[in-house]
Structure formats: structure tokens, C-alpha cells
């Protein structure tokens, strides 16, 4: 997955001019969507051909959706934090576009992680919602996503809004470890992080392959949607600036005539 990350970094930094970004987006999107579709086909095939877990039975397959979605919600917020740095530190004109485009996508993935988490919890722990550490932190992250989307929608002038929402993204980003630590401290029922363990994944390779492929599929999906959403945002800003230009032209004619 590392190569996607580096592509994202390189793609942002040398594309100060939106037009070149649009050009690249037009060329990249077909490839990205093709690759995403392929990965999903392979992933889903793998999910359903491996035999179920001896103890949880079929429900382990839900993990192949739940875990990648949770990873994606974290990755998306990291991309937004990077964009926030782009706006504040490097004053990159596309950074705010990227943060504003990524927020709704991140919110959807977080919601997906919550829904599949509770669907997985019902057969395993008997209740739809369990206030366990990991689920609660993801829920708080979901609240922060909604807050950011609400903030982006509340501000009409994109220029001014960019810096302010970037500051809030960074303050939120700094808080994620605190929230995670405090919620974890508060109550932990969720099984310890089986995949992210430092000494390598604890679960045996049988489950690992579908998980990683699905994670790659989800990441590619995110990047495809993110580029497309950024393209839309650039167009939306062009439309508003052209409309304001039209209004001013009328003003000019008024004064000259």
C-alpha cells in the first residue's frame, strides 16, 4: 500500500496548477477505476473461498469488510491532516480542495466500519452496539468528520474557510491518539489489535490474504473517489468564480455605459 501513499504525496506537491491536476486526473481515473474493480473482484473471490473460522464460523468474513473500512477511516483523516498541512505550511492551492473532497468519503467509510462492526458484534457478543474501546473511538472519529463537513458547508467563501478548517483538522488529528488512549483506558472489550501487532500479524495467512487484498481494493477505491471528488470541487470553484466574474462584467458595463 506504500506506493499509493508516495504517489499521493508526489501527486499533490508538483501539481500547484489545477489545470495540470485536471489533465492528470482525466488520464489517471480510468486506470484507477479499472485497478479498483480488478482488486475488488479478486478480493471478494478470496473472501468467499476461504473456509470459515472454527470458532466464529461464517461471521469472520465480515472482518474482511470491517477492518479495511476502519483502516480507511484512519487513512482518510491522515490524508486530510496532510492536506491541512498543505494549506497552512506550504500554502498549496489544491490542499484545501483535497481536504474538502476527502471529508465526505472518510465519513462514509467510518460509517461503514461502524455498521459492519455492529453487524459483526451481534452474533459474537449478542448486542448490536457494544461500548468497546475501538468502536467508540471510531464513533468519535465519525462525529469529528461530521463536524468538519458541517464547518465546510457553513462557510461560503472557500478562501477564508480553507485556513480555519485546516486548523480544526490538525487540532482533531492531534486529538486522535488522546481519544484512542482515553477510550481504550475507559473500557476495552474489543480483541487486542490482532493485525497491527508489532510482531507481525497474529492471524494465520489463511485469513491474511483476503484481508490485505480487500484493504488494497478499498485504498484504490478511496484514491479514485478522492481524485474524482477533487475534480468536482475544482469545477465547482470555477463555476462560482465565473459567475462572480459575470456579475462584475455586468457591473463594469453598468459603470461604463
Amino acid at each position: 500500500m506504500m506506493n499509493d501513499q508516495s504517489l499521493a504525496i508526489r501527486k499533490f506537491s508538483d501539481l500547484a496548477n489545477p489545470t495540470r491536476f485536471l489533465g492528470l486526473a482525466e488520464r489517471l481515473l480510468p486506470w484507477f477505476s479499472g485497478l479498483t474493480a480488478l482488486l475488488f473482484v479478486v478480493g471478494l473471490y478470496l473472501c468467499f473461498t476461504t473456509q470459515g473460522d472454527y470458532q466464529q464460523g461464517e461471521t469472520v468474513r465480515i472482518m474482511y469488510i470491517h477492518v479495511p473500512a476502519a483502516w480507511l477511516s484512519m487513512m482518510c483523516y491522515t490524508v486530510m491532516a496532510l492536506s491541512a498541512l498543505g494549506t497552512l505550511v506550504w500554502r498549496h492551492p489544491l490542499a484545501d480542495v483535497s481536504a474538502r473532497a476527502a471529508a465526505p468519503i472518510g465519513a462514509c467509510f467510518t460509517l461503514l466500519a461502524l455498521v459492519t462492526g455492529s453487524l459483526w458484534g451481534k452474533p459474537m457478543w449478542g448486542t448490536w452496539w457494544v461500548w468497546d474501546a475501538r468502536l467508540t473511538s471510531v464513533f468519535v472519529l465519525f462525529l469529528m468528520y461530521l463536524g468538519l463537513i458541517a464547518l465546510n458547508r457553513a462557510m461560503d467563501d472557500p478562501g477564508k474557510a480553507a485556513k480555519v478548517s485546516a486548523i480544526l483538522i490538525l487540532v482533531g488529528f492531534v486529538n486522535i491518539p488522546i481519544i484512542k488512549f482515553s477510550v481504550e483506558w475507559w473500557n476495552t472489550l474489543h480483541q487486542p489489535a490482532s493485525v497491527m501487532r508489532l510482531d507481525g500479524p497474529k492471524i494465520d495467512p489463511e485469513f491474511l490474504w483476503p484481508l490485505l487484498v480487500m484493504a488494497l481494493a478499498f485504498s484504490m477505491l478511496f484514491f479514485t473517489l478522492h481524485i474524482a471528488a477533487m475534480r468536482n470541487e475544482i469545477w465547482r470553484r470555477r463555476v462560482t468564480s465565473m459567475r462572480r466574474q459575470a456579475a462584475r462584467n455586468l457591473g463594469m458595463e453598468g459603470r461604463k455605459a
Binding site: 467563501d157 478562501g159 477564508k160 462572480r244 462584475r248 463594469m252
Partner: protein, 214 residues
């Protein structure tokens, strides 16, 4: 060391609209500049960029001869709003601004009572600011310029709510400040009633400015 204000090829932008560009001028100590132009031609933007409240799109603003070369720290900004609290009395407001702002090197602010008398409002220092009329409130906002010393005054339509006598009084204040070697930049429609003042006419939207002679 007399203060000198340098504006080098200044340009400012609000949102996506370029308001003005290529403005360059130098103001010696004791010189005043009146910024004129139609509404929305960028007068307020020019003053707010000088006072550091708006980011500079291009070019630079520099002040020589005052403590620090940051213009904002050694200048007063008097905007459309009076920066006074309605619940506090006039003297409480002025005492606060005197303590909070302190004096720039090279001068001392007047005591609050003297400043109030200078504005012709002696005796109503104890009234809450909210009770005063618009004209009186505007004069009190000007008293803030006197209680703390700043070599540069940036005034955005200072005489907006003032009557004729207040205009003359204000012109006297500005003349006094200039004689002490201060610099005044005022955006205004009516003439300030001060002779020997340079004029900068803003021609509005990204139009190149035309600096009128004396």
C-alpha cells in the same frame, strides 16, 4: 530618528478578486496621505493591509525609525467600528486601552482625562459608552489615538459621523500629530481640511492606481 513609511509595489486580494496592485510610495515623518476613491475601490482594503489585518498578495510594507520595523506594532488603526465596550464607562475603556497598548518608543500617551478634554467631551467620562450618541462615540474612539502613543495613524473614514465642529477639532488633532513628526494615512470622502497632504486615488477593481499630485 524620524519615522519613514515605505510601501513597495503593494498588491492585495480579497478572496479571488485582485483589489489593487503596484502601489509604491514613501511617507516621511510629518507627512499625511489621503486615500480617496469611489466606494469599493479598495480604500479600506489598503488600510487593512497596511495594518497587517489582511495578508499582502505581493510587495512589502516597511517602517523605519520606530522600535520594530513591523508597521502594525507601531501604528493605530481606527476602523468603522469604535473598538469600545458598550457596558464599560468611557474612562474604563480608555484606561484599558492605555494599559493594554502601552506606548511605542519615542512618545508618551496623554492621561485619559486630558485626552477626553482634548476631544471636547470633558465631564462625561463616567457615562457607560453605550449611552453616548454616534458622534460622541466616534470622538471617544479618536481619544484612543491619544491615550497610547503610536507614530503612524491609519484612519478609515474617521470623520464619518462627525458634525462640522468635530471635523475642525479632528483636523487639529491630525495637524498636531503631524507636527510631532507622526505619519497619518486617512481614507476619506470629504477633504480633511489639512493643506500640504498628498493624495492617493484608488480606481478600483484591479485597475492600476493613479497617484494624484499635491
Amino acid at each position: 530618528m524620524p519615522v519613514k513609511l515605505h510601501v513597495e509595489d503593494l498588491a492585495a486580494r480579497r478572496g479571488e478578486d485582485l483589489i489593487f496592485q503596484h502601489i509604491s510610495l514613501v511617507l516621511q515623518a510629518g507627512e499625511g496621505l489621503v486615500v480617496t476613491g469611489a466606494n469599493g475601490s479598495g480604500k479600506s482594503t489598503f488600510l487593512r493591509v497596511l495594518s497587517g489585518l489582511l495578508p499582502v498578495d505581493a510587495g512589502r510594507v516597511r517602517l523605519e525609525g520606530a522600535g520594530s520595523d513591523n508597521l502594525a506594532e507601531s501604528s493605530h488603526y481606527l476602523g468603522h467600528r469604535n473598538a469600545m465596550k458598550r457596558e464599560l464607562t468611557v474612562s474604563e475603556n480608555l484606561v484599558f486601552w492605555q494599559d493594554f497598548m502601552g506606548d511605542s518608543p519615542g512618545g508618551r500617551g496623554l492621561p485619559v482625562e486630558v485626552a477626553i478634554d482634548a476631544l471636547g467631551l470633558s465631564g462625561i467620562g463616567h457615562l457607560p459608552f453605550g449611552y453616548l450618541s454616534a458622534g460622541q462615540q466616534r470622538r471617544m474612539a479618536m481619544a484612543r489615538l491619544l491615550v497610547a502613543f503610536r507614530p503612524v495613524w491609519l484612519l478609515d473614514e474617521p470623520t464619518a459621523a462627525l458634525d462640522a465642529s468635530a471635523d475642525r477639532m479632528f483636523a487639529g488633532l491630525v495637524r498636531g500629530h503631524l507636527e510631532q513628526g507622526g505619519i497619518v494615512v486617512a481614507a476619506t470622502h470629504q477633504p480633511l481640511g489639512i493643506d500640504g497632504v498628498r493624495e492617493l486615488r484608488m480606481t478600483g477593481f484591479a485597475g492600476v492606481f493613479a497617484e494624484a499630485g499635491y
